[in-house]
């Protein structure tokens, strides 16, 4: 093949390939014009190629086809140019174009302005010589020039209106210049046997394709499909096989090795087919589609991460992660609207510099961003009419932020800001990708926000607007996750005589007072801790990292403000609001979170018993008691009730009465041994006396059964704990005994009953009762068992240390036994 044939055939194949893409490409006016132009170039090139190749039905036929193709190319390039720069064609131009199409048709009959070329054999090379060119050739030339002139004038006018469009259309003008130049150069003798016009026509097409790709009008990612792969593979394999036939088979067609030649041909065809397929799949598709594949993978991965995510912070983090991985993004930040304001706080950023910065975005801008889902260029935003009403502060802050894009998410509750790396620009597919991410994020964030709202609402007390007990437990647990070093204060505020207040002034007034108290506590604890409504008339304050002194100070402030409440009511004067307040601090006054909670409850009880309206810092251990309450009288009033109940036990079951007294004796000793304060010692004593009161409800045949209990009997027997609680619960003001009583059958290893709690989760008082109860049970002679010796009991207790009993208490109890053995005996 000659160079001429190579160029022409390559150009033809190229045009053909581009034309095939039309089937799958998008359709719009500009692309239609483009493909029309490629079609025309194809007709012109193939006509010329086939003319020179003397293909059937003859070179004259192909000359006319080529001529028609050339005229069509001129018109279609003009048409494309006008569409590209956005100028509508005038009727005059349409008429000119129509005439130019008709001219080659008119020329067919008798070569009106150009006769068919004469074929000359120049040393084996076929050359076409145009001998008979009429002066009428000036007609199409003039018409073409007229069209070009009209185009230039109109482009000039457009340039006056909009100077920037020239810079955007530079490649188009360059391509057309190549086309024109090629057609001018072809008349030079030097290009007699070189198809400069075809080559420059091809260059023109390539430049225009580049311009369209750059403008994002043409997207060739769909080229990389499997179907196209097969098509290209087969086509190229045919060409390769054809070359093989040309070189080898034709020469040996009559020889005996034809069969082996044909086999070889088949092998070559199939090998090239497989080889090209492999290249297509492993190289072409990944290269052409690498961005699309990457985007798709990112999108799928992101979607999987956020689809079921109900945590806004985590979703925001994922968005920032995805965006900051993109090479064209320099900075991405997420702002959250500060409730009921037009300010947004930057809550997360790909660079820390922006975090916590606040930016004002006014209602107008918010409305716009809320209605336009997706990224909006900041400059585009600033050109909007609504932005004219933006506040100066907003304008200044947006300018200072130096971001390039902004998007509203979840109706602008969140704003996303993007800064693009200088010099880089978003392509349409980049924007589409980012917007797809944002759409997914929008839905996920909407769900997450809704969930968090419901979650929060379920944790907020309806009346006072502060967190409820449910939230307290969650935050309380959280506070103890990492409290190895720091302190945690807990304050329980119990409003005194609130029932009476409601009765005196009505529930409505009571509710308003509760609201006011909640507000006072909220204000006083702001930025220091969290306040929760613990029960109807109780508020609990969690003060992470706060010591006793600071906690007391806060409490004093609250107390003083609360005492003033209601005094200045416009209608009537309320009685003064007072509260019994308990404070305890971990780990100073309590060794576990449960103990801390029990301590504040205990402290409140003590203040109540001591006449209410007071504050007490409660420490489980003796040395920590800080308030000047008279402990000797604290539980005096209740001793009578306890005595009455023990008498009831005695009447029903004398053994249990004795057993309770014994347990009380041991427990008091043990409590004192471990230096518990007098209050706790007294509680331990009373709890010991009543710990088995529930046995009143157990049938006597089970209670005094000589021999082992059956499973069902044992189950009934176990119920005495709940029965005890039921009795104590209904007695006035004895509920402070419940923790000790309910836990006295729990085991340290969690295998006890009724709650199967373990270790320090079992209240200390209950652990004391447990060991003393077991000791006395083993020591007593019963109908179903003999008395066990002290030594044996001690060894059993030691054996059960850490299993049934608290190891520390075991040690202390053994000390007690050793020092008081005769006394106990």
């Amino acid at each position: 093949m000659s160079i001429q044939e190579y160029i022409s055939s390559f150009a033809m194949l190229f045009y053909l390939f581009i034309l095939l893409l039309y089937v799958k490409s998008e359709k719009n006016q500009l692309l239609n014009s483009f493909f029309l132009m490629i079609g025309s170039l194809f007709v012109w090139t193939s006509g010329s190629f086939l003319m020179r190749g003397l293909a059937n039905p003859g070179y004259i036929f192909w000359f006319h086809i080529s001529l028609l193709g050339l005229f069509l190319s001129i018109i279609s390039i003009y048409n494309f140019l006008m569409d590209y720069v956005g100028i509508k064609k005038t009727i005059f131009e349409m008429i000119l174009m129509g005439i130019l199409i008709l001219l080659p048709l008119v020329n067919i009959e008798d070569g009106w302005f150009i006769k068919s070329p004469v074929m000359v054999n120049d040393h084996g090379n076929i050359i076409m010589i145009y001998e008979d060119i009429s002066e009428l050739i000036l007609i199409p030339i003039c018409l073409g020039l007229l069209l070009a002139l009209s185009g230039m004038i109109r482009i000039g006018k457009k340039y006056k209106e909009d100077k920037k469009f020239i810079s955007q259309s530079k490649p188009i003008f360059l391509g057309i210049a190549f086309f024109v130049l090629g057609n001018l150069l072809v008349v030079l003798p030097i290009f007699k046997s070189f198809p400069i016009d075809i080559l420059f026509g091809l260059v023109n097409a390539i430049i225009l394709i580049y311009a369209l790709i750059r403008k994002d009008v043409l997207n060739f990612t769909f080229i990389a499909s499997d179907a196209n792969g097969y098509f290209v593979s087969v086509l190229l394999s045919i060409i390769i096989a054809n070359r093989y036939i040309g070189r080898h088979i034709i020469e040996t067609i009559n020889t005996e090795n034809l069969q082996s030649q044909l086999t070889m041909l088949l092998v070559i065809f199939l090998s090239s087919l497989i080889f090209i397929q492999l290249i297509w799949k492993k190289i072409v598709i990944p290269v052409v589609k690498h961005e699309a594949i990457y985007f798709n993978e990112c999108l799928n991965e992101f979607s999987a991460k956020v689809a079921y995510n109900l945590n806004t912070n985590s979703i925001i983090h994922e968005v920032i992660e995805v965006f900051s991985q993109l090479e064209f993004i320099e900075l991405v930040s997420f702002g959250k609207r500060v409730t009921s304001t037009n300010y947004y706080e930057i809550i997360e950023s790909s660079k820390f510099t922006l975090n916590n910065k606040t930016i004002m975005i006014n209602n107008g801008t918010q409305e716009f961003l809320g209605a336009n889902h997706g990224l909006v260029g900041i400059h585009e935003l600033m050109n909007l009419i609504l932005y004219k009403s933006a506040w100066e502060e907003e304008k200044l802050q947006l300018r200072t932020l130096q971001m390039d894009y902004i998007a509203g998410i979840n109706y602008t509750q969140f704003l996303l800001f993007i800064k693009v790396i200088q010099g880089k620009k978003f392509k349409i597919r980049d924007l589409e990708f980012l917007n797809s991410i944002l759409s997914i994020a929008d839905v996920s964030l909407r769900n997450a926000v809704m969930y968090e709202k419901v979650y929060l609402e379920s944790r907020i007390d309806e009346l006072t607007g502060i967190y409820n007990r449910k939230m307290f437990y969650e935050k309380y647990d959280e506070a103890f996750i990492s409290q190895e070093i720091s302190t945690t204060g807990l304050v329980l505020i119990n409003i005194d005589d609130f029932k009476l207040f409601n009765q005196l002034y009505g529930v409505q007034n009571g509710d308003s007072i509760l609201k006011e108290i909640a507000e006072i506590i909220r204000i006083e604890t702001e930025n220091k801790g969290m306040v929760f409504r613990y029960s109807g008339k109780e508020f609990i304050i969690l003060l992470p990292s706060l010591d006793v002194y600071s906690s007391k100070q806060i409490v004093e402030q609250i107390k003083s403000k609360m005492n003033k409440l209601g005094l200045y009511s416009s209608d009537f004067q309320h009685r003064t609001i007072t509260a019994s307040i308990g404070i305890s601090v971990y780990p100073l006054g309590a060794s576990s979170k449960n103990e801390l909670l029990q301590n504040v409850e205990m402290a409140v009880h003590q203040v109540k018993k001591n006449g209410k309206n007071g504050v007490m810092v409660f420490d489980t251990y003796e040395k920590g008691i800080t308030e000047d309450l008279d402990y000797s009288k604290v539980y005096e009033n209740y001793s009578a009730t306890v005595c009455a109940l023990t008498a009831a036990i005695d009447a029903k079951d004398h053994y249990t009465f004795n057993h309770s007294n014994n347990v009380a004796e041991y427990a008091v000793k043990l409590a004192k041994e471990i230096k518990l304060n007098n209050v706790v010692v007294e509680i331990v004593r009373q709890a010991s006396l009543l710990h088995d009161i529930g046995k009143i409800s157990i049938p006597e045949n089970i209670l005094n059964k000589p021999g082992a209990l059956t499973d069902s009997e044992y189950e009934i027997m176990k119920r005495h704990v709940e029965a005890s609680i039921e009795i104590i619960r209904h007695l006035p003001d004895l509920d402070y005994l419940i923790p000790a009583v309910i836990g006295h059958h729990e085991r340290y290893d969690g295998k006890g009953y009724p709650r199967k709690i373990s270790g320090e989760n079992i209240p200390l008082t209950a652990r004391i009762l447990c060991i003393c109860d077991a000791y006395d049970a083993m020591k007593s002679k019963r109908v179903y068992k003999e008395e066990i010796s002290n030594e044996k009991i001690i060894s059993i207790i030691k054996k059960e240390s850490g299993r049934h009993f608290d190891p520390i208490l075991v040690e202390a109890f053994i000390n007690v036994l050793e020092t008081s053995v005769t006394e106990f005996d």
Binding site: E161, D162, K163, K164, F165, N362, N363, G364, N383, I385, L386, K388, S389, A390, W391, E392, E393
Partner: protein, 533 residues
């Protein structure tokens, strides 16, 4: 990006939308912008020293609440605060202070602080006016860097002096003469030099007070005929200008044809400011071949309005001030009821054909809120629901102030002071703004002298006019300027028959308003004694 760069990089429609965006909006969008910006202004004004002095730390949740509770203000309310020029009192830091004469006869100044935001808005809106002045249709305009401007307005610190500075931030324009040279020249000298330069190389834009440009243009024939190239080389003229000049002179000599500026100049844009422009516009168009675009600006309100390319009424810039309007009925109620605070309406509540007094609150950190500028506007159209803005027409100053040609503000106190200083002893006087036969405004003082005064000396109209005019010029510099610049003395004096005011009071049981009484009242006064006879 400034206009010069935008013109290079953007299409005409984009440039148009950038600056003349307010022509594309309807009343609803206009009101949205007004309320949003007023909310901003209210917030910063209330927090400022001036706001605290006025309202003592009161806070308002909405613009409407602010309108209800904030009283209307006049310059007197701000005078002492602004004269100190203390930036700590202001809602935002002032970049410059603009001033003008306060109540003509008193000889004191009014000061208005301009913040950065105000100046930026002024600048954008001034460029919009520049574009519209060359435009006949949307998106079509003809402004380019290097255009020549004949600027016949007062320099800084007057508000009109802001324009060249602000234009300069946006686009390079060539001023005739250049701004530096102009600063060292008097007003008349500057205009003269400007015209001289314009004759050599043409002029693209003319910007001035309607009355001044009219006065200059009227004498154009004699100016041109008397101007010769004896001081300048023929080669300093553009050939086309030379040809036009020679041709016009030839025609004038041959046929006595009047030469108009349009015969020589080819203006692209023509902008006028000031009052009384309606009396000059038609003739200015006839003389210059292009209808002037009227702008509305002031020391306190900044640049607030412009005519559109159809030149059939002005629209207000939505981002310059918050506009409220007092109807004539409310003004009447106010003058008849002591302590009555007139109600205001907003743009979307205006009635077509009604006349209103404007009340402004300057946006972007301006000092003036609910401020009575003292101008009357007529609502020409208020197309609710359509994508156009209400069209307004400037009527005049409020009736207790007389403004002639945008130069002077004659008040009751001013005239009293002049008469006292001049030693003229009078029984009564009234002064009104009237129109001459050629439709031009003048001041008309009706004076009833004391009997002994008129009998003890020679008094006639001319003498009285001379005396009053001398004191008027002495006390009111702007009036002097008016005379100097326009070359006309707009004062007429009529001597009333002795006893006229007494007769009027006893017949009509009321005193006449001294400034601008109704035409009917003046007629009654003039004829009162005739009727009696």
């Amino acid at each position: 990006m400034n206009l010069e760069n935008i013109l290079k990089h953007k299409s005409k429609s984009e440039v148009w939308n950038e600056y003349c965006w307010f022509l594309n909006i309807g009343i609803e969008e206009f009101m949205d912008i007004q309320f949003r910006l007023m909310e901003e202004q209210m917030n910063i004004w209330l927090k400022s020293g001036i706001g605290k002095i006025f309202l003592n730390d009161k806070q308002f949740v909405s613009v409407n609440e602010f309108r209800e509770k904030m009283p209307l203000t006049r310059y007197d309310d701000y005078a002492t605060l602004l004269e100190s020029k203390d930036p700590r009192l202001l809602p935002s830091e002032p970049i410059l202070w603009i001033q003008t004469t306060r109540d003509g006869a008193r000889g004191t100044n009014k000061y208005a602080p301009y913040s950065k935001g105000m100046l930026e808005t002024f600048q954008k809106n001034a460029i919009a006016c520049l574009l519209i002045s060359t435009s006949n249709d949307k998106n079509s305009f003809d402004v380019k860097a290097g255009d020549k401007v004949l600027y016949a307005l007062a320099p800084l610190p007057y508000a009109t002096g802001l324009m060249p500075v602000l234009f300069g931030n946006e686009i390079h324009l060539e001023y005739l003469p250049d701004v530096k040279t102009a600063q060292s020249m008097g007003f008349r000298e500057r205009n003269k030099e400007g015209f001289k330069l314009a004759l050599k190389s043409n002029v693209d834009f003319l910007f001035g007070l309607g009355s001044v440009v009219y006065s200059i243009s009227q004498d154009f024939t004699s100016y041109l005929m008397n101007s010769s190239s004896k001081n300048s080389s023929v080669f300093s003229f553009k050939p086309s200008m030379l040809y036009k000049m020679l041709n016009a002179k030839r025609k004038n000599k041959k046929n006595g044809t009047q030469i108009y500026p349009k015969d020589i100049f080819d203006l692209k844009g023509f902008m006028i400011a000031g009052t009384d422009n309606k009396y000059y516009k038609d003739e200015l168009e006839k003389m210059w071949g292009i209808r002037p675009l009227e702008l509305f600006a002031g020391t306190e309100p900044t640049l607030i309005g412009t005519e559109t390319n159809s030149r059939n009424g002005l629209v207000f810039f939505p981002d310059a001030c918050f506009y409220e309007f007092i109807s004539i009925d409310e003004r009447e109620k106010e003058s008849n009821t002591y302590g009555y605070s007139p109600k205001t309406v907003l743009f979307n509540e205006l009635t077509e054909g009604e006349i209103y007094e404007i009340v402004i609150s300057v946006f972007k950190g301006g000092a003036f809120v609910r401020y009575r500028v003292g101008d009357l506007y007529k609502c020409l159209s208020n197309p609710i629901g359509k994508q156009t803005l209400p069209k307004m027409e400037y009527i005049d100053r409020v009736t207790d102030v007389i403004d002639i040609g945008g130069f002077t503000r004659i008040t009751c106190e001013g005239v009293e002071e002049i008469l006292t200083l001049s030693g003229i002893r009078y029984e009564g006087w009234i002064i009104s703004k009237e129109l001459s036969e050629s439709g031009k405004p003048f001041l008309h003082l009706y004076l009833e002298l004391k009997k002994d005064y008129s009998t003890s000396r020679i008094v006639n109209r001319e003498i009285l006019k001379t005396i009053v005019s001398v004191f008027l010029k002495f006390i009111d510099q702007d009036y002097d300027n008016l005379k100097k610049i326009t070359g006309v003395d707009p004062l007429h004096v009529s001597i009333l028959q002795i006893g006229s005011f007494d007769a009027y009071s006893s017949k009509f049981k009321r005193n006449l308003r001294k400034i601008n009484p109704a035409r009917m009242d003046i007629e009654n006064l003039l004829n009162i004694l005739k009727d009696r006879r």
